[in-house]
Symmetry: D2
């Protein structure tokens, strides 16, 4: 039963660690974390501003609110007498198809559409995708948000940066064409949410669709860590599951430094 | 049984998300992910280069090797027909006291020692800590590495940056004094490993000891994502657990761009 | 956002716990665990020998071998300095579509087929199911085993009991018809494996298809517990992931008492 | 780095599976699940009624209420678009030191006390254990319940069965002596809860203390399965985390058949 497993990710030696062939120690302090995430997902360091773009997406996804189901799961477990990683793992396991998972589905649709119809007009492609989903009475993942209406403040900002940093390409164009086609079809706007914007931008950065959820998870572990720590240091054992009212006690809105 | 849970982390409104009082959308593209991680762990954005230092630590911990137990657990689960987050959560759950957990224990020792003995000479404090551990025949967490000998390439680089960026303070000084005391006591060097260096630096950045494992987890989810993706796209179902030989097929050592 | 969640499972009072309306304390020592599992999955205690049948399936699935991916994940995590439940949870998370998950898929096929074609001849139904899978070049879940050839010793025993205890009904009949249709179509036998046999029997017991994986999980936590305990008490920290050769040191084959 | 891992649990052959040397297929339908759990935890099949006693404990722990943190975590994750095992694993990960974990701590105290003081009078041993905990202002795990007062209905029933089935021995005697010593010391009764009773009984059955949490986990996966299924089939996506009011819709109290 002995077989060989192949890996293309890293090699380790007593005096060095190579990630995709690059010396990890030499990257410390010289490259952004976003650069290394991009390296791990595409196989090379950014040629342009993809590392900054990755950082922007990590910032956008780092934290949302205590009501996110992943936070709920993590804080519930955190109150049960477990170590940090256990509560964080429970939070990560909640990042499924309905919570942080729309990006994976959206990126797959965008990547498949452009790969299968490389020569088709973007607007026509968008129309046919929307028509197909409407006919199946399904929701197009990555568009609309149950809470952030009319627009998701994160997606607008990310798309503006992707344009400014010359990252936007055919996938972003297709996502925007879908936005227009949806509005025509529904008679009201259903703008790209943060999952949809990240799906389009990551696709234009050459990141495979399966990594979309992973980018969200990497980012959100930061927020989960803060919540688990808060529950462990200020909560009562076993109390989170039964608590019903949330009161915010942190700083009021303040300007950025 | 209805109680109030308090949180100081974030607030969410239809048109904005506030993290510790700062507008998240406005931080996108303007602040590093490391800045936001620091914000979530200390309550404010960096006044100095703490955000860059956090990024350096995230880079240092992003990936090590396919032999890490967290990777092993994640790839094993990835081969079982599960979604991305499930395999990543299994990997996170492996980051326990013996794997990526030495930093938490080390930071606690450093923070407790300086808090309980604020006026004691650092060298004397280090001597007494080492003597105490030696007497209990226990290992001081954060020093020595079973594979990276004589020195961990990551810890040297991180400490040099902490010095250059004026982040090193009493905790780094204490950790270095422990290094010297250990060498005297053992008759051979047992240098700080990456967990120990991060514990000292994060402590000087004002990060509570319980967050040490979390910093490692946030970083390592990047490497886990790459391994899970590789297993899902190139591995055979159920095969990883039984495979015995690892063959590296990625790029050979290459210079940084 | 306050909503009501409804549940039909249990109620708790200071002096009693009611499960589906029955007093839990009164069931202790009077009903089998298998009876209570059946109660939780169907809403009532068994009228016939369904509780014994459930116990038989729990025994059949309690343990297989150290090479099972769920055991591999659990023992890997167990060596990382974590509590019992953390290692067991990692093992449970490995019980996905490819490992212990065939039963869910098989039960769904059987239940859907009989529900959608209640009046069709069983043999004809089996032929059309097999033809459909063959045409799509897909494998019919629940038939064949990569290791237990020619036959899975557990499935034969479970089916014999289901017949003897008068539990076998249309779902078992359909599964057997599929077995015959597969043999005709392939020109060689591809007998029901333990997942397939349990899927058919549980379906005839009125258990919804989604519970198939759960029955396997409940059972296998017993084996996972033994493996995690063995790793924690006899293994070296972090060693399992790197270990390559398995040596069995337990009792040799012995007759049942 | 190739090493040998030893295991004493199972062996697998194409035509048979041996668990602790016994043929698994031959045990199906002939032995209880509780017998096999006992076999996996102690290395042999029961000589007396230990298998029935194990079943009684599995029944006692199978389900409690929707308010249990493990259920809360599992249902939260179940609403996020994940497979069954993922939600169940999150529930298992919540069974920590404060939730279902008191039995592990209690069994360790009982087993250590009797092993270290084999010749001491049970009453005197209990007095000194209680005095020690009272002096450290710590709670003795396994005694008292925040909800089930004055007595936990499950523990009384389990202890009565352990007496009737001649399983009660020195560990049960010590636990009862602690109950008396606690009442004298506190001036009010603080009776054994279900965790304490199971800790004492499992210890008298020869089960190592580390398995206590595992017995609870094996049992509770049954209740978790029911809750996850209910959430998946009747809940709205992402809704559980935000829901605040629980309404029971199952059968009213009814007599056992």
């Amino acid at each position: 039963m002995s077989e060989t497993v192949t890996t293309s990710i890293s090699q380790v030696f007593p005096d060095s660690i190579l990630v995709k062939g690059y010396d990890l120690a030499a990257m410390i302090g010289r490259y952004r974390f976003g650069d290394v995430v991009y390296l791990l997902m595409t196989g090379d360091l950014p040629a342009g501003r993809e590392g900054e773009m990755m950082e922007a997406m990590l910032v956008a996804s780092a934290e949302h609110s205590i009501n996110a189901p992943s936070v709920h799961a993590a804080r519930t477990v955190a109150g049960c007498g477990v170590p940090m990683q256990s509560a964080m793992a429970a939070g990560v396991s909640a990042i499924g198809d309905y919570h942080g998972g729309a990006g994976e589905a959206c990126a797959r649709i965008l990547q498949d559409a452009l790969q299968q119809h490389p020569h088709e007009d973007i607007a026509a492609l968008a129309e046919s995708l929307v028509a197909d989903f409407r006919q199946r009475k399904a929701r197009l993942p990555g568009f609309g948000h149950r809470f952030h209406t009319p627009a998701d403040p994160r997606s607008q900002r990310l798309l503006a940066l992707a344009d400014a940093w010359e990252i936007s390409g055919p996938h972003v164009a297709l996502a925007r064409a879908i936005e227009r086609a949806l509005e025509r079809s529904l008679g009201r706007p259903l703008p790209m949410n943060v999952d949809g914007a990240m799906a389009a931008i990551l696709s234009d950065m050459g990141v495979a669709w399966r990594f979309n959820k992973a980018v969200f998870i990497i980012a959100r572990t930061a927020g989960l860590a803060a919540h688990v720590h808060e529950e462990m240091t200020t909560g009562r054992p076993l109390a989170f599951a039964g608590k019903r009212t949330i009161r915010y006690t942190g700083p009021a809105k303040r300007p950025l430094p």
